[in-house]
């Protein structure tokens, strides 16, 4: 059944064909299942260190990256599992990295906060808040110098928009009209600091005007809406008109990291956002327009779960790195 026959379907949703929507849903499920499995692995003592989960933010990661082309770049954050999966990274290699194994994307040297898939255009997650923002400027300079027509999308949180790096990067990207799309995932908290207490303006997107670029303030839990705006920003970047700032208002259901006792927000607030689950919202809308039936949607979710379960088993069986290789990649030869 073709999408345009359905009454009342939003243009943003109608613009996405069934194959695209299925891929987006699959990736949103993979992100959710990946992080649930990551959390379970932590509880079972399979990993050490910490992790920053993005459960609840899946529509932002998948929606913004949906209009990117295969050769485009992304730069991610400490809460970066979603961006990585959204760009097509293999969950088994991600889990291997998460478990610190030699077979992981970064041979166990980077872990959750530093996963990169350079060949796949993912130039790395970042343990420093706002660390990727100036790097995106350089990637933009590189794209422009090499005239290769690519775009660089860089993710950051609301907290990073208060860092100097944010302001320096947006200014430079704008004066040089670089092909960069800045994506702020505003999940309302910089660790425990509420944006209302941390920012003098209500929206991160309001700051775009200071740097002469479009600022889009979005419902970050609406996959189709996010994808529609990202498409415009990506096209603008690719055509040489310069950067845009997209703000996705969303929410992390879990705490900042594993040590978070969640003392700064209420159960009611968390519950309110859980009711806006981006995955269920998309599924409900698709069902309402008869684009997918319940069984088809269930299959997408089950397939994702199976992939993640297999990824965990693969990663568990992989070898640790050999300590004799400790200093191997400090310098390139």
């Amino acid at each position: 059944m073709s999408a345009d026959q359905k009454p009342n379907q939003r243009p943003e949703l109608a613009a996405l064909d069934d194959a695209t929507v299925a891929q987006a849903l699959t990736r949103m499920h993979l992100i959710r299942k990946f992080e649930e499995a990551a959390e379970a692995s932590y509880m079972r003592g399979l990993i050490h260190g910490t992790m920053h989960l993005s459960i609840g933010q899946e529509a932002s990661a998948v929606g913004t990256t949906l209009p990117l082309e295969a050769h485009d770049y992304i730069l991610s954050t400490h809460r970066g599992h979603g961006h990585c999966i959204a760009r097509g990274a293999e969950p088994r290699l991600m889990f291997a990295e998460f478990f610190g194994k030699e077979t992981g994307y970064c041979k166990g040297r980077g872990g959750s906060m530093h996963i990169a898939d350079v060949e796949g255009g993912n130039l790395g997650a970042n343990g420093i808040v706002g660390g990727g923002l100036p790097i995106a400027v350089g990637v933009g300079m590189s794209i422009k110098a090499q005239k290769n027509g690519r775009v660089c999308m860089v993710f950051f949180g609301d907290g990073a928009s208060n860092e100097g790096a944010f302001h320096e990067a947006l200014n430079m990207a704008s004066i040089w009209k670089l092909p960069v799309v800045f994506v702020c995932e505003n999940n309302k908290y910089g660790m425990s600091m509420d944006i209302g207490r941390a920012m003098a303006v209500p929206n991160v997107a309001d700051r775009a005007s200071a740097y002469g670029m479009p600022g889009h303030c979005l419902d970050g839990n609406d996959l189709a809406g996010v994808a529609a705006v990202a498409k415009v920003a990506i096209a603008r970047a690719r055509s040489g008109e310069g950067p845009s700032l997209i703000e996705c208002k969303t929410y992390r259901w879990r705490g900042h990291s594993k040590s978070d006792r969640n003392l700064y927000r209420s159960k009611e607030e968390i519950e309110e956002w859980r009711n806006q689950d981006p995955i269920r919202r998309l599924e409900d809308e698709l069902k309402a327009h008869d684009r997918f039936d319940a069984a088809a949607l269930m299959k997408l979710e089950e397939d994702a779960q199976r992939d993640i379960d297999a990824a965990v088993e693969f990663a568990r069986a992989c070898p640790d790195p050999d300590p004799k290789d400790l200093t191997r990649d400090v310098y390139a030869l």
């Binding site: 041979k107 130039l123 350089g138 590189s142 990067a169 030869l333």
Partner: protein, 340 residues
């Protein structure tokens, strides 16, 4: 003037240190279109110290890029350009301003290769005019090279001559790692022999500037030159000093230092950076941990900068860092102590 004299002059072509750096930049940009220069006032102004000069007119403003005053931002931009196929050369206007760019150099540039399991490299060069002696006081006069030498993943160079300034910059641009080059501001006008071709001075190899038998003096940048001048005076007093110019702080050429100490049995380390926790401490400890320790006839002497910010007053400024007289005195004491 007879023609053979003219030929001789052209063969020992002399350039200033600043001209040597500029020639290296020009030759690198001519040879490789991935190389570009950027930083504050490097374009139409020609660089705060005149190093980039006319390069913007020769290569255009797409390759010699004036940046806003955004040290963190431009250091990060160098990282981003380097990991996606370019060869950026960044100028931090005064090395002191690198404090604003620490995050990108220390957390990003130095670690990306390692954190990504060797799947990326960061071939970038950062030029940093540093050092005291200009009356610019505490925020424009520091010697911060030891800070960066403490970071695995970075390389840190300190060329002292126009010859090395050119050859080491070209080697740094070729290098697949992030390389920081500290250029001493007082050296920019010094002149010396600089071959016209695009030659390389290997990174990690010290130079023996003067051979001697009574003690080894190790220094780099302007301190290597002061050590050479001091050695000349020491010779007239009957003390034979061997002078080693480190040139590269990380990686450090310990082999050359060790061989020299094995021969002279005494070591004096001279450096402009703050004495405590500095380059002198590292070299002294390396000797202490090695078999060369048994060859020492006297305790090692460290002659470093005062444990104070660089002061404005010229008398105080001179007193804050080792001078030629201090080196002569320290060397004389070291030799006598060993004999006593």
């Amino acid at each position: 003037m007879p023609s053979d004299t003219l030929e001789a002059v052209s063969e020992i072509r002399e350039l200033s240190y600043a001209e040597a750096v500029r020639e290296a930049l020009a030759q690198a940009m001519e040879a490789d279109e991935r190389v570009f220069l950027f930083g504050e006032d490097v374009g139409v102004y020609g660089g705060a110290f005149g190093v980039s000069g006319d390069l913007v007119h020769r290569f255009g403003k797409e390759r010699v890029i004036d940046t806003p005053i955004s040290e963190l931002g431009i250091a990060g931009a160098a990282v981003g350009a380097a990991i996606t196929g370019m060869r950026p050369v960044l100028e931090i206007q005064f090395s002191d301003f690198v404090t604003l760019a620490m995050e990108q150099l220390v957390n990003q540039a130095a670690k990306i290769r390692f954190m990504f399991g060797g799947k990326a490299s960061v071939p970038m060069v950062v030029r940093l005019p540093g050092g005291s002696g200009t009356g610019a006081a505490a925020q424009h006069s520091q010697s911060l090279e030891a800070w960066f030498a403490h970071v695995p993943g970075l390389k840190v160079l300190q060329p002292s001559t126009p010859h090395d300034a050119k050859g080491m910059l070209l080697a740094a641009i070729d290098d697949p790692n992030p390389v920081l080059i500290f250029e001493h501001k007082l050296l920019y006008k010094t002149k010396g022999h600089v071959p016209a071709e695009a030659y390389r001075v290997p990174i990690g190899k010290a130079a023996i500037r003067r051979e001697g038998t009574d003690l080894t003096i190790v220094g780099s940048s302007i301190m290597a030159l002061k050590a050479e001048a001091a050695a000349e005076r020491l010779a007239s007093e009957g003390i034979s000093a061997e002078v080693i110019d480190l040139r590269s702080i990380r990686p450090i050429d310990f082999t050359t230092i060790a061989e020299s100490v094995r021969k002279t049995h005494r070591l004096l380390v001279v450096y402009e950076g703050v004495k405590t926790m500095g380059i002198g401490a590292e070299i002294s400890a390396m000797i202490a941990e090695s078999e060369v320790f048994d060859f020492l006839d006297a305790p090692i002497i460290r002659l470093g900068g005062a444990d104070a910010p660089i002061p404005y007053n010229p008398v105080l400024e001179k007193a804050a860092v080792p001078q030629e007289d201090d080196i002569v005195t320290a060397a004389t004491n070291l030799v006598r102590r060993g004999e006593a």
